[in-house]
């Protein structure tokens, strides 16, 4: 059986020819049915680009992205995506947001079936009492739950989560991590979870893959396997040495990669050829003989103090 998702030698950059800004370089990833993968990386290191490539919202410059052995041509409901900023439609209520997906994807169902189906997913994320509220009336955590419900209701084969919890406070994050993990345990949908939080990555996923920054674009590093049995109890896990070891390993890998990829500046820095005026000096006003500005180029000697952090 082919893997459900396979990226081979994928690279992606933005901008034109000589100004091209390489984001991803030679990314290889194989995900099997039922995997719970988390990809962790720095902000701005190309995580969202990667998930957009998998979702089909972007096309790779080189290499191939395949789902079930066929090349991903564009976005589709079989790869449901939960966006970082929730992407709820503000003019629709919670249930209407979910219904948007349900009505579109299950036209064969009767009105009543669709209603029940949507309600089931709203219930799954524990939002039944808020069904008829608008997104602006909900907290960040509740909004993201709606987004999860809408995506899950589409019955995707792969669930893509693009930093779903990064806009939330730590405690809400923890709760939602557990909830999503719990839902996964029931459905066993394949999950790819993008995050910038090492704890989150290790706590929720079975496979943790770092996205390492590089000068020619980011690439995926050596993956770590988390074989802690489920359901995971966060309070217990964070005390274990396995958890600490994994975290240290992950953080070290990411920090080392960052150091190596630190950009070197090859630009010649030029300062303006003018020196600030000494405002403390007493001057007499003369309309016709204005004092000329002091030029840096006329200085015999200049000292520059550089502090290296």
């Amino acid at each position: 059986m082919p893997p459900i998702l396979e990226l081979k030698g994928v690279s992606k950059g933005f901008g034109r020819a000589h100004e091209r800004n390489a984001v991803l370089q030679d990314v290889n990833l194989t995900v099997n049915e039922g995997d719970f993968v988390s990809i962790i990386g720095y902000s701005g290191s190309g995580k969202s680009t990667l998930i957009n490539l998998i979702a089909g919202l972007l096309k790779p410059d080189t290499g191939t992205a395949r789902m079930d052995d066929s090349i991903i041509q564009g976005p589709g409901p079989e790869r449901g995506i939960v966006f970082q900023n929730y992407s709820l439609l503000p003019w629709l209520t919670v249930i209407e947001n979910v219904r948007l997906a349900v009505d579109q994807l299950f036209p064969a169902m009767s009105e009543q079936e669709r209603k029940d189906y949507a309600a089931k997913y709203v219930d799954m994320v524990k939002l039944t009492p808020a069904s008829h509220k608008y997104p602006k009336e909900l907290s960040g955590g509740m909004r993201q739950r709606v987004s999860v419900a809408r995506t899950l209701a589409a019955n995707p084969r792969i669930l893509l989560l693009d930093e779903p919890l990064s806009a939330l406070d730590a405690l809400t994050r923890a709760t939602l991590q557990d909830e999503i993990a719990e839902i996964w345990q029931k459905n066993r949908t394949t999950v790819i979870w993008i995050t910038n939080d090492p704890d989150e990555a290790i706590l929720v996923a079975d496979r943790v893959i770092p996205l390492l920054p590089g000068r020619e674009g980011a690439t995926l590093g050596q993956e770590l396997i988390v074989d802690t049995p489920r359901p995971r109890d966060r309070k217990e896990i964070i005390k274990t040495t396995e958890f600490k070891d994994l975290k240290i390993q992950l953080v070290t890998t990411l920090l080392d990669a960052k150091k190596e990829s630190a950009p070197t500046i090859t630009k010649k820095l030029s300062t303006p050829d003018i020196l600030p005026e000494d405002l403390g000096k007493k001057r007499s006003f003369n309309l016709f003989e204005r004092p000329a500005p002091r030029r840096r180029s006329q200085l015999a000697r200049e000292e520059l103090k550089i502090e290296v952090p």
Binding site: F83, S87, P90, W91, Q104, L105
Partner: protein, 294 residues
């Protein structure tokens, strides 16, 4: 409680003071009647009425009220085709505005959508729009008369129902009022967040569904801002149009009273036009507020 009291007082008292200052200024520059006895050259004394002041022909506030009274006290009276209560005139104007405004919305909204959706369309039509946009209604009306010179719809008895002047005035109102709708709709469509469009793409919504379920609801607040501004312009244009074509209405009344040297009625008309414009704007911004999302 004290704060609330203060707020209410300021909200009423301050505008009232400003109004009083303006009316006072008006009074000062207005003409005042001076009655003097003059010898008529034959030994008889006759009274001579003279108007004096910075602007001798400008009626004072009190004179304005006295002359305008019949029009205000009986705002719905109809004494003749060109002698009607002020609200009756306003109603005639409003009817014309409503028709022209409706045409502006129906034509302007789709153009706005096309501008917002297609970069090519924008590049092609933007120069034309920018050139036509600042043209005054006074310039459009004659063109309208030429364009619609063949329009004649009469009933069986030969009474004209809809003629060239009607078509030309609707054309003028519509084309002048259209631009805020066009431009705001275009901005609104361009401002639809990419995330919403991504949702549509992932769900594979059809083009029509994306339009009705994502684009229109998302652009609606912008569209209503355009609609409000358009209504303001339509109301602005009606006065100019009525003056030119001499139709009964608030603008026609204003011009006719000027020609009849009844200057007080000009002020009455201006205040009425302003008042109605204000009410229309308030009403539209209430509707606009209802559509504001998130």
């Amino acid at each position: 409680m004290k704060f609330f009291y203060q707020l209410k007082l300021d909200a009423i008292l301050l505008p009232l003071i400003a109004i009083l200052i303006c009316v006072g200024g008006w009074y000062l520059i207005a003409g005042h009647e001076k009655i003097s006895k003059v010898d008529d050259g034959f030994g008889d004394m006759t009274t001579k009425v003279e108007r004096k002041g910075v602007s001798p022909n400008l009626p004072t506030p009190v004179e304005t009220w006295k002359t305008s009274k019949p029009y205000v006290v009986e705002p719905l009276a109809k004494r003749g085709e060109l002698d009607q209560g002020i609200l009756r005139f306003a109603w005639l104007s409003l009817k014309l505005v409503a028709q022209g405004y409706l045409i502006a919305l129906v034509v302007g909204t789709p153009i706005g959508f096309m501008l917002g959706l297609s970069k090519k369309f924008t590049q092609a039509f933007d120069p034309i729009i920018q050139i036509l946009r600042p043209v005054s209604p006074l310039a459009w009306l004659p063109l309208g008369m030429v364009l619609f010179s063949n329009v004649k719809i009469a009933d069986a008895s030969g009474k004209m129902l809809f003629g060239t002047t009607d078509a030309a005035s609707l054309f003028t109102i519509a084309i002048c009022a259209m631009w805020p709708t066009v431009l705001n709709t275009a901005v609104g469509v361009r401002a639809v967040p990419q995330d919403y469009l991504n949702v549509a793409k992932v769900l594979k919504l059809s083009k029509t569904k994306t339009l009705f379920k994502i684009l229109i609801p998302s652009a609606l607040p912008y569209m209503f801002t355009g609609y409000r501004l358009s209504l303001g312009i339509a109301w602005l244009v009606i006065v100019a149009v009525e003056m030119l074509i001499g139709k009964p209405g608030i603008g026609g009344f204003l011009w006719q009273q000027y020609n009849a040297s009844l200057y007080a009625h000009i002020i009455l008309s201006i205040l009425t036009i302003g008042g109605i414009g204000y009410v229309l704007d308030r009403a539209m911004s209430l509707i606009e507020g209802r559509f504001r999302t998130a």
